[in-house]
Amino acid sequence: MKSIRQTITDKGQNVLNIYFTAGHPTLVSTVDIIISLAKSGVDLIELGIPYSDPLADGLTIQKSGEAALRNGQTISNIFAQVKEARKSTDIPIVMMGYFNQFLQYGAERFLKDAYESGVQGLILPDLPMDIYQNEYQSMFEKYHMEISFLVTPLTSDDRIHLADQLSSGFLYVVSQSSITGKSGDLSDTQRQYFQRIQDMKLTSPQLIGFGIHDKKSRMEASQYAHGVIVGSAFIRALDGSQNVKETIKDFVGGL
């Protein structure tokens, strides 16, 4: 299986990473969604671990998480679902959750189970970079787990360089200072911010996320990075769906 970083750098541009919450709309839908996304030409999948208190997430992802938890989703079950999906696809999968989930499951146990089930990367938005460096980096390396750190328009250049250096997957470029789920056209301020990061000639490939919701926003953002991450817009599409496979074909086709 190719690494997340290799997958992005090999394609070089227009990379599409789709986020959804594991266990939503139904508990068993996760495997089908992964396989359909892979077939539809998506490059990476970001699998959200549903959380009771997702501080960085807007209403769409909050609601999908609540639904997944009501459906009985657990962390071990997500690993089992990834393992099942791995029988049909080798598309790179990155998991996104909150640091407390990782801690309570047990850091080493989490990394081991993730690795063995076929997860290649992890995003923990509330894991501080210094704590990662001091306590977890070598453990991540042991299990070949690629980590991605976030930068925002308010992140200083020094911190962007640190996030770039510590990220072993991609650098997650948060498009605006906001929670997930905002949509709207890109502003000049956002373009300047993307340009600033592009001009920094960073080592990690960069994906822009938060607020990318349609073809127009994808195309615009993709000019400034290796590609984009689409989350809330996809979850909204799944919410109204009668047939997940058709919905995915249409949604990805429309991007």
Binding site: Q62, L69, T74, F99, N100, Y105, A163
Partner: protein, 402 residues
């Protein structure tokens, strides 16, 4: 008499194993700015002068230390009540909001947000925003809006916008989540006035410092009354832990003083309807800090329960997690019923109707092993006006003869 362990925050923001700042990058710049400036700004002579002037003339400090004779007789010890209920707006919460609004102004922020449970912190925030002419948005759980209606009305009269939090258990935890999301969306313009000794570093320490005026006054007042500048016990209820932190602060390293926390057992610790974090909680992260919290083995935060909106929180401030695990503080739990009994008792015995949160601190007196010479200070954190609906309903449902 000092203890070896430090109970002050470390430079990295920790209290022993607890504390820290586990926040998404979107909040890093704001929290970092506060962290780098709060001590310097708070120590400026001009800040100090304005802070103390407002505490005196606007809040009405110092709040009295009152010897409760009937309670003293009943519990066989010298019981003193630190009357935070007499502060403007009716609780200790205003000490912190005065401090933070002065900080927010010096940081150039134009917009203030807050979370509130019982509504006391929301009212205290709306009050200082009216005073300083700053926009104020308060997040409050939909359930709490229902049970603390008088405070919702007060916030609105003071010019604040009250936004209901509809997620989760629709109480304090969820209001805090919504406030944090607002802050992420408005990081540059907005200061978040957290109402308890919780949240990412430096909030627990900042709130504790602004509340520490409580124990500074206790030290002087107890000297006047007893000839000793320390009590044998300080007792406080704990939701997130701001009144307790303020009442303990100047005694943290004085081993002669026993620190006692009263947490909410709700319907009973083992009923599944409780907020007794020290017993039901395990180490983890809530609202950006490492502390004790109620959670599942998968790290999902468990919804707490207490009749008291201000104690209905699944975590506890990191200072208190440290005090508890190092056994510097002792925790007792009081149920809804025990707290209600204490409300009725204090009203009849001393002519003081306490807040329901505060009543938990009174309710544990009977569980403590007190001696007749003990001097016990109870932080009477707030008054009961806001809880009258809850009290009347309880009295009616339990057919209590007044």
């Amino acid at each position: 008499m000092t203890s070896k362990q430090s109970y002050h925050v470390s430079p990295s923001g920790h209290y022993g194993d607890f504390g820290g700042a586990y926040i998404p990058e979107m909040l890093y710049a704001n929290v970092e700015e506060i962290k780098n400036k709060y001590i310097e700004i708070s120590n400026e002579p001009e800040f100090q002068a304005e802070f103390h002037q407002l505490l005196k003339d606007y809040v009405g400090r110092p709040s009295p230390l009152y010897k409760a004779n009937t309670l003293s007789e009943k519990y066989g010890a010298n019981i003193y009540l630190k009357r935070e209920d007499l502060n403007h707006t009716g609780a200790h919460k205003i000490n912190n909001t005065i401090g933070q609004i002065l900080l927010a102004k010096r940081l150039g922020k134009k917009r203030i947000i807050a979370e509130t449970g019982a509504g006391q912190h929301g009212v205290a925030t709306a009050t200082v925003c009216a005073l300083m002419k700053l926009e104020c948005i308060v997040y409050m759980g939909a359930v709490d809006i229902e049970r603390q209606a008088p405070n919702v009305a007060r916030m609105k009269m003071l010019g604040a916008t009250v936004i209901p939090a509809e997620s989760g258990s629709k109480t304090l935890k969820d209001a805090t989540n919504e406030a944090i999301r607002d802050w992420i969306n408005n990081a540059e313009t907005t200061h978040y006035i957290i109402g308890s000794a919780i949240g990412p570093h430096p909030y627990p320490d900042m709130v504790t410092r602004y509340q520490s005026v409580i124990s500074a006054e206790i030290k002087e007042q107890i000297q006047e009354k007893t000839g000793k500048d320390y009590p044998d016990y300080v007792v406080a209820c704990v939701g997130g832990g701001s009144n307790a932190a303020g009442a303990f602060y100047h005694f943290l390293h004085d081993d002669r003083v026993q620190l006692i926390l009263a947490e909410a057992a709700g319907k009973g610790i083992d009923t599944g309807h409780s907020a007794a974090t020290s017993i039901l909680g395990t180490k983890g992260i809530i609202h950006g800090c490492m502390t004790l919290l109620m959670q599942t083995p998968d790290g999902q935060i468990v919804e707490p329960y207490s009749l008291s909106a201000g104690l209905d929180y699944p975590g506890i401030g990191p200072l208190h997690a440290h005090l508890i695990t190092t056994k510097r503080a002792k925790v007792y739990a009081a149920t809804d019923d025990e707290a209600m009994q204490a409300v009725l008792e204090l009203s009849a015995a001393e002519g003081i109707i306490p807040a329901l949160e505060t009543a938990h601190a009174l309710a544990i007196l009977s569980k403590m092993d007190l001696k007749s010479e003990d001097n016990v200070v109870i932080c009477l954190s707030g008054r009961g006006d806001k809880d009258l609906n809850t009290y009347l309903k309880y009295i009616e449902e339990h057919k209590i003869e007044l």
